[in-house]
Symmetry: C2
Subunit: 329 residues, 2 copies
């Protein structure tokens, strides 16, 4: 009996050691440095049974921004590229768009012209390209677009432009009992169309901006009809609201890249007990892009200024990531 | 090698047989009858690898109404009892309520008087009892109430009035890889305060009606403030909408008890592939209550008329359930 007990202890210790080793190996695209160490150490602490910082399985929630955190967002949000392409695809049905803003600018690929129409113009574009379909039709439209469209710089499908280190991080957290959520300013149904396949995040773990929908029968067949009206904007202070609405529990870890994620990291890391916040810093113009304080897309100023004193990790794309995209060598 | 392979096959077969047996035993409070058979057979079909009706893990979503399906709803919705008690608890802070409807009626426990105030009065009650708190304060208020309040007929905590057969069903489905969701007309944060402990359903798997919330800093501390404004009503045609918003995927199985669940079952069972719908019929005045077509609470008319021809199972509380509540012998 005594010997068996000792063997069991030795075996458990061996498993524990190998599991830490496995943890380190689970993030091969993260260079050994402060960011990777902070992630691995935090996960080890909250998953060590009997440790002072142990967190039960049910409370292991990690939230990830999407644009600029899990995939690229330059030269424009990928969903904006979808909108422009969809305006072109729908244009034959709406000949009046040729002369009518914001469609005229959208058809010309003129983002400045679109922006000149302000919020009203953007809402018209969203209504025209995201509504007037059922949920199933919209899902198909997004999937068809993702299968056909190519990113202008890399000449690859947009879903190739996901960050390899973040894919590894998602898998590492799930292997440690975390539920991984996307909490994005982007459209929830746009992201759901690819999140499971690309990130391993199922539709029910995607929180995002949304338009209103309505249940109705069409020729006796039930459908979810998408309406031309904004329901919820999941950005900035809307992110903690989205987290409360959809998850109903404060996350343990939050990952973002812009000041649109500030409140999400603030809400997450101000909870009691161990909490973790990380911002991806786009400082790699060679492999990806370099932008922060002055950028229109993914502006990161307050996070850089206040993040470190709040204990948030600033991960440098240039120095912390061995690879950026899965197709990088 | 050959022998080993045969042993492995024999072992697998033994596991398969014992797992079917385990399935039958997992629902001891369901009498052997059509309802139980239909449940067990459906779950067996969708979980049998290689079978024509096999459904991958990720798509195994089961949705449950709460009031009247997972716990009682007589003599009034339990959340209504919370509202009346909370009006009494808050009344000292609002002396004007003594003379002001709907509070005057609520303080007198006069539901007819409350109802006379119509929707406007109800919204005032919801605002007074559910808003003007943070999410954490509200959760505490519900938990404190559940710990103290007693059901008038059974003189037990309301959370004792959950249905034992449905607890077994939730566990049985989860053991078979299902994600179990609550989709309720009741308040989402009210249900979240006890769903994990009582049903094993975590907060992120509760969909319900909601008021608006706002993220803000109070004395530098982030809070989710609850606002006196309805955000979403998750009832009738709102249930498929809630399912789309929060889950983003059509469920495989749906369980309800009233015509408020009709559209949820319709949406669920009109999907492609195998689908399952079940309505709990309250026909047991001795152990619980008997009500259906004419009831104000939990009215069930259309479901009884159209359910069977749609292939929905009508489960009789009286004949299909061996026990109703966990405290029944």
């Amino acid at each position: 009996m005594r010997l068996n007990l000792l063997s069991a202890v030795a075996l458990t210790a061996a498993i524990a050691v190998s599991s830490v080793a496995a943890a380190a190996d689970a993030l091969p695209s993260w260079k050994d440095g402060k960011a990777k160490q902070a992630i691995v150490q935090f996960v080890k602490q909250v998953t060590t049974k009997g440790g002072s910082k142990f967190v039960p399985l049910a409370e292991r929630i990690a939230v990830f921004d999407n644009d600029g955190t899990l995939w690229g967002e330059q030269p424009m949000y990928f969903q904006a590229a979808f909108v422009l392409d969809r305006v072109k695809a729908l244009a034959p049905k709406y000949p009046e768009w040729k002369e009518k803003e914001p469609f005229k600018s959208a058809l010309a690929g003129d983002l400045k012209g679109v922006a000149a129409g302000g919020e009203k113009g953007l809402l018209e574009l969203v209504a025209a390209t995201h509504a007037d379909t059922t949920s199933e039709e919209f899902e198909k439209a997004v999937k068809d677009w993702l299968a056909a469209a190519k990113h202008p710089r890399f000449n690859r499908p947009y879903t190739d432009l996901v960050y390899q280190p973040m894919l590894e991080l998602l898998a590492f957290l799930r292997a440690n009992g975390f539920k991984t959520y996307i909490v994005s300013g982007g459209g929830v149904e746009f992201i759901r169309a690819f999140s499971e396949k690309v990130y391993g995040v199922p539709p029910e773990q995607v929180v995002g901006s949304s338009i209103k929908v309505k249940y109705e029968l069409r020729d006796g067949k039930p459908v979810i009809a998408r309406l031309p009206e904004i329901d919820f904007i999941d950005d900035k202070a809307g992110k903690p609201v989205g987290i409360q609405k959809f998850i109903g529990r404060r996350p343990l870890m939050a990952f973002g890249n812009s000041d649109g994620d500030f409140e999400m990291l603030e809400w997450t890391t101000s909870g009691p007990g161990p909490r973790f916040g990380l911002l991806v810093h786009h400082d790699d113009a060679v492999r990806e892009w370099a932008y922060d304080r002055e950028s229109h897309v993914g502006r990161l100023k307050r996070g850089l200024d206040e993040g470190p004193q709040r204990g948030w990790v600033i991960a440098s794309m240039k120095s912390d990531w061995r690879r950026v995209f899965p197709f990088d060598k």
